[in-house]
């Protein structure tokens, strides 16, 4: 049963309740949306480069190496720009048991991390500052760990999608969600 859905240009957020009769699990997912225009642009420019190389070979009598290298270059940029390794990341909250963090890749690979409920001290929403930007991230303060555990390792969803997940985590772990909403330290990547 899908309870709520928010989306923007890059991500969309889905909240599902598996087994709604018993309060067994709550799944919050952030899904990466496919961007058709980007794919079109990348293929078009790759085609342009290849066409240019072939023209150079046929008309200006350059060596075949030009075509070969431009083909390699095309493969590289298509691979880099169009490969979306992450398809979606989700948080499965099982009250009284723990929280499972999953990362689903396009290749079919799924990486799961489980954190028992009593090891979670508090979920926190933090601002991370990098040399070029600043974004919000959701992390868990875990007992006996020096570093915070990022809930979404690969994706950077907007804060309006993170807030309902954070509230659900607070409710599950029993920490106060409305006051004292930030700590002073954080992993600033």
């Amino acid at each position: 049963m899908v309870e709520s859905c928010i989306s923007n240009k890059i991500y969309s957020y889905k909240h599902e309740c598996k087994w709604p009769n018993s309060e067994a699990a709550d799944v919050h997912s952030i899904i990466v949306r496919k961007s058709r225009s980007k794919g079109f642009l990348v293929f078009f420019s790759a085609l342009l480069i290849l066409a240019n190389a072939i023209l150079l070979f046929l008309i200006k009598d350059k060596s075949i190496a030009v075509v070969f290298w431009s083909f390699i270059w095309d493969v590289l940029i298509v691979k880099l720009l169009l490969q979306k390794p992450v398809e979606k990341e989700s948080v499965v909250i099982m009250p009284a048991l723990g929280v499972q963090l999953e990362t689903h890749y396009v290749s079919g690979n799924i990486i799961r991390r489980f954190v028992p409920i009593d090891k979670i001290l508090k979920p926190v929403l933090l601002e991370c500052v990098t040399p070029v930007t600043c974004y919000w991230s959701l992390s868990l303060i875990v007992q006996e760990e020096a570093e915070l555990m990022l809930v979404f390792k690969e994706l950077h969803p907007p804060v309006k999608m993170l807030v309902p997940i954070w509230k659900a985590l607070c409710a599950a772990t029993g920490s106060e969600g409305s006051l004292n909403t930030f700590t002073e330290d954080g992993p600033c990547c």
Binding site: K9, C134, T181
Partner: protein, 450 residues
């Protein structure tokens, strides 16, 4: 607050806590007073070691420690356009209305002011030091300052001497420069309940022992005073390259029992060192505005100082001397003779009335109001101001600004402003049981997010 608007100010400088100094103290205390007046203040500086990211200080003061590595004397590496993305992100997410840069020597400040002007924000600059005109370093720095100040909305200097110096170095019209002196925290610098008794007169010196602060003058003055007055003792606090010379002087004249060297004194202990003395000696060769003198006067000490820079403007009861050993010894002689007539509590009360950070904040608020009332100018109008900076320099500055403008437009296309999320304002609520707790109101109202 009344009818004046609530401003949203971004303070930018390379120099901030955990570094200690005049500029750092100024930014912190001014920000605290502005927060009390109801404005929103955010500070941006570079990361200090591990201290990187967002931190919150007293009163809800948000500090961005941007992870750019410092390369020289706590200054960020100047990359011209490298800081444009992060500055744009901070300005949009905090909904800043005005950018206030501090200290001419800070590269981050210059870059931030340049980018803020490109993006159309109003800009205020405060200069805290006096600089020369003759040496190579100063010439280059003055050119950079000329570039930054060519298009600043308003400028603030800490003394009239400093205003003269800044106007001459940068070619800024004097009408745009306001003089707002620094203040002193009179609550922290209180005189001792009882003056140090006994026959001895104790002269305190606390400064960095470098050439600029006149450490060489001390080397000449101290033995002379000790010879003339057998009941005078010196306490010297501070460290630096010239400490060796002072130690040598002690050895040479056998003054080990008359001159006490304390080494570096942490800021929290300055007051306890000051209240152990009767007279404060300042031998700086140049000073835009000497806060040390104010701190000493607030603690009830009589001050003897060199007549340089903005020192004579501080207050009237300083005994002034030329930066010359003989003249300084005469001044100390005069100070010792008038010492019995000085009442420490009276001096402290006068300081309290003359210097107050809340007063500085109110005056700065007026400068902000004037800055925000300045007209918005298009790129072409602004470029004409840069052309007046010099034959070659003017054209170079124009080119720099045009490239900055183009990069800003490209950045707007790549990362539109709508994608940058605005940070909700912090509302401080005081809870007796739990201390100060902070509350993101917007996060608790689900409606505003969907």
């Amino acid at each position: 607050m009344g009818d004046s608007k609530r401003h949203r100010i971004l303070m930018v400088s390379d120099f901030f806590y955990p570094n200690f100094g005049g500029v750092e103290n100024h930014i912190y205390l001014l920000s605290q007073c502005l927060l009390k007046l109801g404005h929103k203040v955010v500070v941006m500086t570079h990361a200090y070691g591990n201290r990187s990211g967002v931190r919150y200080m007293t009163g809800g003061l948000k500090v961005y420690y941007v992870p750019w590595k410092p390369f020289l004397l706590q200054n960020t590496l100047p990359t011209f356009y490298g800081t444009l993305p992060i500055i744009r992100t901070i300005l949009i997410r905090e909904q800043i209305s005005l950018v206030h840069g501090h200290q001419a020597f800070s590269t981050l400040c210059h870059e931030a002011l340049m980018h803020a002007r490109t993006m159309g924000y109003k800009v205020v600059f405060t200069d805290h030091s006096l600089y020369g005109f003759a040496d190579v370093g100063s010439i280059h720095m003055n050119k950079v300052l000329q570039f930054t100040l060519a298009d600043v909305s308003q400028a603030i200097c800490v003394s009239h001497t400093s205003k003269e110096n800044t106007v001459l170095r940068s070619g800024l019209p004097p009408e745009k420069v306001y003089v707002i002196p620094n203040a002193v925290d009179t609550a922290m610098f209180k005189p001792a309940a009882e003056r140090p008794s006994g026959n001895e007169i104790i002269i305190v010196v606390i400064s960095r022992l470098v050439y600029r602060k006149g450490a060489d003058l001390l080397v000449e003055v101290i033995p002379e005073v000790c010879r003339m007055y057998p009941n005078v003792r010196f306490i010297v606090g501070g460290d630096g390259p010239k400490r060796v010379r002072l130690e040598e002087m002690r050895e040479k004249h056998s003054l080990q029992d008359r001159v006490e060297m304390l080494g570096a004194v942490p800021h929290a202990q300055v007051r306890s060192v000051l209240i152990s003395g009767h007279i404060f000696l300042n031998s700086s060769l140049t000073e835009a505005f000497c806060i040390a003198i104010l701190e000493a006067a607030s603690c009830g000490l009589l001050t003897v100082s060199t007549r340089v820079g903005g020192v004579p403007e501080a207050y009237d009861m300083i005994v002034l001397a030329e930066p010359d050993p003989t003249d300084m010894v005469q001044a100390i002689k005069k100070a010792i003779s008038i010492l019995p007539m000085i009442d420490p509590q009276d001096m402290h009360n006068r300081m309290k009335k003359l210097y107050d950070w809340h007063d500085v904040a109110k005056r700065t608020e007026i400068v902000y109001d004037h800055a925000l009332n300045c007209s918005n100018q298009s790129l072409l109008e602004r470029l004409s101001r840069y052309l007046t900076c010099g034959a070659w320099a003017g054209k170079l500055f124009c080119l720099v600004m045009i490239i900055d403008f183009i990069l800003w437009r490209l950045l707007q296309l790549w990362k539109p402003a709508e994608d940058i999320e605005v940070v909700p304002d912090i509302v401080l609520s005081h809870d007796e049981d739990r201390g100060i707790s902070q509350d993101f109101q917007a996060f608790n109202e689900d409606n505003s997010l969907r």
